[in-house]
């Protein structure tokens, strides 16, 4: 089988934080490749550096050392504005605590990322309706996040993550704040998206979730990749 192209590549990436006298090595020399269409999980106990790695891959943060290539473009040297553009275009975030903006309705939350990419009003309207239909929340589109259940909020977040048709979906503990059953629904959406060709990188501390859904699991410990397991 021909391998798909590499979409994300980390080359000896380090992220150090200065904590007074000490230096905290949150990510310490990680190298890996993520290919288009893969479902990758980053596993590890808390403090292992998974969230930092997620921020680096999502171009929310820049590494202290090393290179991060997103579709062969080195993002570790970009300006804040360029990073914002890349985030908006190529990456969709799903967070553990949903992170919807509370005074915006479901519809407005989903269309927010499109504002920064300069979509026209009609286009935004059309795409938002389609995305909310995809996560089966079309009838809830004028509700505020506080009027939605956790599972519904996370589905709005998924729709928002998809709004600019990103290459990669980054999910940080997407089921962490949900009960098992709603968590499964959310995971099913992610699985579906992956089947349709989206690259998904999921950070989790739940080994079952990782084994069940991800094809490749990177196990992190103390900022280093400890082992890599593959499932089919």
């Amino acid at each position: 089988m021909q391998k798909s192209k590499v979409i994300i590549e980390l080359q000896n990436v380090c992220k150090y934080y200065k904590m007074g006298e000490n230096i905290l090595k949150a990510v310490d020399g990680v190298s890996l490749q993520i290919r288009e269409g893969e479902f990758v999980a980053i596993m590890g106990p808390s403090g292992s550096g998974k969230s930092t790695m997620m921020n680096l891959i999502g171009s929310l943060d820049v590494p202290t050392k090393g290179k991060i290539l997103l579709e062969n473009q080195d993002i570790s040297t970009l300006t804040e504005s360029d990073l914002a553009q890349i985030r908006g275009k190529k990456i969709g975030f799903i967070f553990q605590s949903f992170n919807l903006i509370n005074n915006l309705t479901a519809k407005e939350n989903v269309s927010l990322p499109m504002i920064f990419q300069g979509y026209s009003d009609e286009e935004r309207e059309f795409r938002t309706a389609k995305l909310l239909a995809l996560v089966t929340l079309k009838d809830r589109m004028d509700h505020l996040p506080t009027e939605l259940s956790g599972g519904q909020q996370q589905r709005v977040a998924i729709a928002r993550a998809l709004s600019n048709s990103p290459e990669v979906i980054l999910a940080d503990e997407p089921t962490g704040n949900l009960d098992t059953k709603t968590g499964e629904t959310v995971m099913d959406f992610l699985k579906d998206l992956n089947k349709k060709g989206k690259t998904i990188v999921m950070v989790t501390h739940d080994p079952n979730l990782a084994k069940h859904f991800a094809k490749i699991v990177y196990w992190l410990k103390d900022g280093k990749v400890e082992k890599v397991t593959k499932h089919d």
């Binding site: 921020n55 504005s81 914002a84 975030f93 992170n99 903006i101 509370n102 990322p113």
Partner: protein, 407 residues
């Protein structure tokens, strides 16, 4: 995209608490002060002018001794004007007519109460009387006006009728009799309220009665001059001054009399009003400055409160300048809300003020609503809001997305 930032800013304004709107009081009060001042417009001038008894008629008044003495005009003058002076003035080519007036204080008794009031003379000739009525612009609320040849009769200011408490609760109306310096006079009429301390408390008495009662011979406390050509009022004034200098044997610059035109009286009032306006504008500026500090404060708080929202917005692709714009526009709109509240309050005060002045003076003034001024006041508030929001908006824009997402 800017349109979207405006609609986002509107949503944020809507979800803001009362606290952020309280910080707008400064701007609102500043704008209110300016707008109400302008809306009152010449109403304020009219109100003050009425208090000083200045009428808008094109008449010249001549007094002896200048305006520096205390008491009613003429009462403390060494070399008073006379009826002869008035006749001489009437013969000037630029003068149409002259009327002498006397104003003195006298003791008024009614219902066993004694009060001291100004007494003003009314001329005997019909033409002269008409001129005085025109210049005073009065109508009666009770009874009728004095007629030529009405001896032993008086006409009273509104307060004799409207403030019975000054006479032990007994109202004075037409037909009643009062004692002036112990002589009995019949009241023929009460004239309407003028809003002036002098006119509302005055007793008008036929000239001959007054000369007799107060032993005045042919002294004229005031000579009212009607110019022939109302556009040549300054020239008429010069003629009067020249003639009186000759008659009274004084040099130019050493006059012991004063010729005043309505313009000059209004100029004095206007200079007082200008002072008031400058004061109000200073207060308004201070208030607006403090108001803008309030906006800086509420916007800074809001940046801290919405740190997580900033992080989220950045994570979905907002650049620093997008975040800046969003907060900047919100702050500008906040200023605009303050300005809008101020403008509405200012117009309300202006309208109520004019209504009050009309009620007090019986005038028919209209509030002066200057839409251009209101537009600039609103634009100004919008800009002040924006300027106040610059530093908070920069703070918001500079948030590190990772830290901001932690909230």
């Amino acid at each position: 995209m800017i349109k979207d930032f405006f609609s986002l800013a509107f949503k944020n304004l809507k979800s803001r608490g009362i606290r952020s709107y309280l910080t707008l009081l400064g701007i609102a009060i500043g704008v209110m002060a300016v707008v109400s001042l302008i809306s009152l417009g010449n109403g304020l001038q009219m109100a003050v002018a009425a208090q000083f008894g200045v009428s808008a008629n094109q008449l010249i008044t001549v007094q002896a001794g200048g305006l520096t003495g205390y008491g009613p005009p003429g009462s403390a003058v060494v070399d008073p004007l006379t009826k002869e002076d008035a006749d001489a003035l009437a013969r000037l080519s630029s003068v149409e007519n002259t009327v002498t007036r006397n104003i003195r204080s006298a003791q008024v008794e009614y219902n066993d109460r004694i009060q001291f009031r100004y007494v003003g003379s009314m001329p005997n000739e019909k033409n002269d009387l008409d001129l005085v009525y025109t210049s005073l612009d009065v109508e009666t609320v009770s009874g009728k006006k004095l007629k030529p040849g009405d001896m032993g009769k008086v006409m009273l200011g509104y307060n004799f009728y409207g403030k019975p408490e000054e006479w032990d609760g007994k109202q004075i109306t037409a037909g009643k009799s009062i004692l002036i310096n112990n002589k009995k006079f019949e009241v023929v009429g009460i004239f309407e309220k003028k809003g002036s301390l002098i006119l509302d408390n005055v007793v008008f008495m036929p000239e001959d009665d007054m000369r007799h009662l107060l032993e005045m011979d042919d002294i004229a406390d005031l000579i009212v001059v009607e110019p022939k050509d109302k556009d040549q009022i300054d020239k008429t004034k010069e003629d009067i001054e020249k003639l009186l200098r000759n008659r009274r044997n004084v040099k130019e610059g050493e006059e012991n009399f004063e010729v005043s035109t309505p313009e000059a009286s209004l100029a004095t009032i206007n200079s007082v009003l200008n002072g008031v306006q400058i004061f109000i504008i200073i207060v308004a500026s201070i208030s607006i400055f403090i108001g803008s500090l309030g906006i800086v404060n509420t916007m800074t708080t809001s940046v801290l409160e919405r740190k997580r929202d900033i992080g989220i917005t950045k994570s979905v692709g907002a650049k620093n300048e997008h975040i800046f714009l969003q907060f900047f526009i919100e702050s500008s709109l906040l200023g605009l809300v303050g300005g809008l509240a101020g403008a509405l309050l200012g117009i309300t005060i202006g309208v109520l003020g004019i209504y009050g002045i009309n009620n007090a003076l019986g005038t028919q003034l209209k509030p002066h609503i200057d839409f251009l001024l209101i537009f600039f006041a609103l634009l100004g508030s919008f800009i002040i809001g924006g300027v106040a929001g610059i530093i908070p908006a920069m703070k918001a824009a500079k948030q590190n997305p990772v830290e901001a997402l932690r909230g």
